[in-house]
């Protein structure tokens, strides 16, 4: 049978809230001293304010209220004097924190190489308590008014704010609803729902740019190839350029369907170095722009010497 036993009003409270604890000292422990004085320690500090009473069955009970628990974690000990030392008879772990804030900025993108839908979110301020995040989703139709068969919960690795739903759970080209739930001992909160078709949020990588020698002076002859895994997706691509090594603004020179794999740029000053970049987006179907490609450095051909 336990020597001393602490029971708590609640093991986990909101930060700053009060906590009430009581400790009952069993008879065979208090035999040494008929009226043992029960003492409380929070961490290593003695806590005044314990109200002690003798129960009908002869056991001693002390109750204490900590008005504001400001530690996210602390140990409350119930003690007795025994000879010259202070004996710890029981110890309870107190935890304090906040209920989870609503997860925000939920965003998803479809990864064509891993074939999975990765969603990420902002977890919100630290709650000081173990908080579980779960990505919940279900299949839907139209604009997500109906809930069709649900998809297994996606549980992120410890401490991470993203989760990847594997291909086998995805119904491409159909809308699905995605939502992230945060839960801890003090409550639960859910993010707003996202209604999306995984293929509308494909993460495109930029095309690969290269060039062949320009045919006329003042011209550039860039070529490109869309990112290989996205070849089946019709895209449109933007081409921009600016004089090399100058941090001037980019000039957007063309918007072309991704099936066009080269483009002649003329009317540029001869023998001048330029940096070119390209990005693409799924089109006409919805999608997100890829990043801009790394710069391709090209030089326009020199002016041919005028023969008099």
């Amino acid at each position: 049978e336990e020597c001393g036993h602490i029971s708590l009003s609640a093991p986990i409270v909101r930060l700053g809230d009060p906590v009430t604890a009581s400790c009952i000292i069993s008879q065979d422990c208090s035999l040494l001293d008929p009226e043992p004085q029960i003492l409380w320690k929070l961490g290593a500090e003695l806590q005044p304010g314990g109200r002690q009473q003798r129960l009908p069955d002869g056991t001693q009970k002390s109750t204490i209220t900590l008005p504001h628990l400001n530690h996210s974690q602390a140990f409350l000990s119930c003690c007795l004097h025994w000879g010259s030392s202070l004996q710890v008879l029981d110890q309870a772990e107190l935890r304090a924190g906040h209920p989870p804030a609503t997860p925000s900025n939920l965003a998803c993108f479809m990864n064509l190489t891993t074939n999975s839908l990765t969603c990420q979110w902002e977890p919100g301020p630290h709650t000081h308590l173990p908080t579980n995040f779960t990505l919940k989703s279900f299949r839907s139709r139209g604009n997500c008014q109906t809930q069709e068969d649900s998809i297994p919960d996606c549980v992120p690795e410890d401490g991470q704010s993203y989760c990847s739903i594997p291909r086998k759970h995805l119904l491409l080209y159909q809308n699905m609803v995605v939502q992230v739930q945060a839960e801890n001992a003090l409550g639960t909160s859910v993010s707003p729902q996202l209604c999306l078709d995984p293929m509308d949020v494909v993460k495109l990588e930029p095309p690969t740019l290269w060039a062949t020698a320009p045919r006329q002076p003042g011209c550039l002859w860039p070529h490109w190839r869309p990112w290989k895994p996205s070849l089946f997706i019709h895209q449109k691509c933007q081409l921009r350029l600016r004089p090399q090594h100058e941090k001037t603004n980019w000039t957007q020179v063309a918007t072309l369907p991704s099936s066009v794999l080269q483009h002649q740029l003329c009317g540029l000053p001869p023998d001048t170095a330029y940096a070119l970049q390209m990005r693409c987006i799924r089109s006409p179907l919805p999608g997100h722009w890829s990043r801009w490609s790394p710069s391709l450095e090209l030089r326009t051909a020199e002016q041919a010497p005028l023969v008099r």
Partner: protein, 175 residues
């Protein structure tokens, strides 16, 4: 009468190995005590004596190993039984906490291995009792706090037990 060490031909390698095992277990025991203090503020075994008393945590006798009246066969017996007891006490701490379990598991394995080293040496010297000693009833730690407090007490008792053993081993190692 003093049972001189020489009457029992203890190989030097056995004494050296036992000394190393004592140091290894004491080092691990200190790690356990440091973690219990840092994580749960349970830093003083003397604050848990009453609880240890009520839980009935036994301590292992080493009366045959006192330097005044060293009785070697009896000492080896008590050493082996004591290690066997502490192996059981460490096992009773199972589930102490996810952070401490690896340390307790390693400590328990090292104590068990040390007990085997002693037992096999007693067999080789043909002084081993017919039957392995029994651990007796182990305390039942019924709460997380009792397992942590038990951890502090067992580590502290084990440390003192091994201090005595180390003194005997140093005495035996003297040429």
């Amino acid at each position: 009468p003093l049972d001189p060490a020489s009457s029992l031909p203890l190989p030097q390698s056995f004494v050296l190995k036992c000394s190393e095992q004592v140091r290894k277990i004491q080092a691990e025991g200190s790690v356990l005590q440091e973690k219990l203090c840092a994580t749960y503020q349970l830093c003083h075994p003397e604050e848990l004596a009453l609880l240890g008393h009520s839980l009935g945590i036994p301590q292992a006798p080493l009366s045959s190993c006192s330097s005044q009246a060293l009785q070697l066969t009896g000492c080896l017996n008590q050493l082996q039984s004591g290690l066997f007891l502490y192996q059981g006490l460490l096992q009773a701490l199972a589930g102490i906490s996810p952070e401490l379990s690896p340390t307790v598991d390693t400590l328990q394995l090292d104590v068990a291995n040390f007990a085997t080293t002693v037992w096999q040496q007693m067999e080789d010297l043909e002084v081993a009792p017919a039957v392995q000693p029994t651990q007796g009833t182990m305390p039942a730690f019924t709460s997380a706090f009792q397992r942590r407090a038990g951890g502090v007490l067992v580590a502290s008792h084990l440390h003192r037990f091994l201090e005595l053993v180390y003194r005997v081993l140093r005495h035996l190692a003297e040429p």
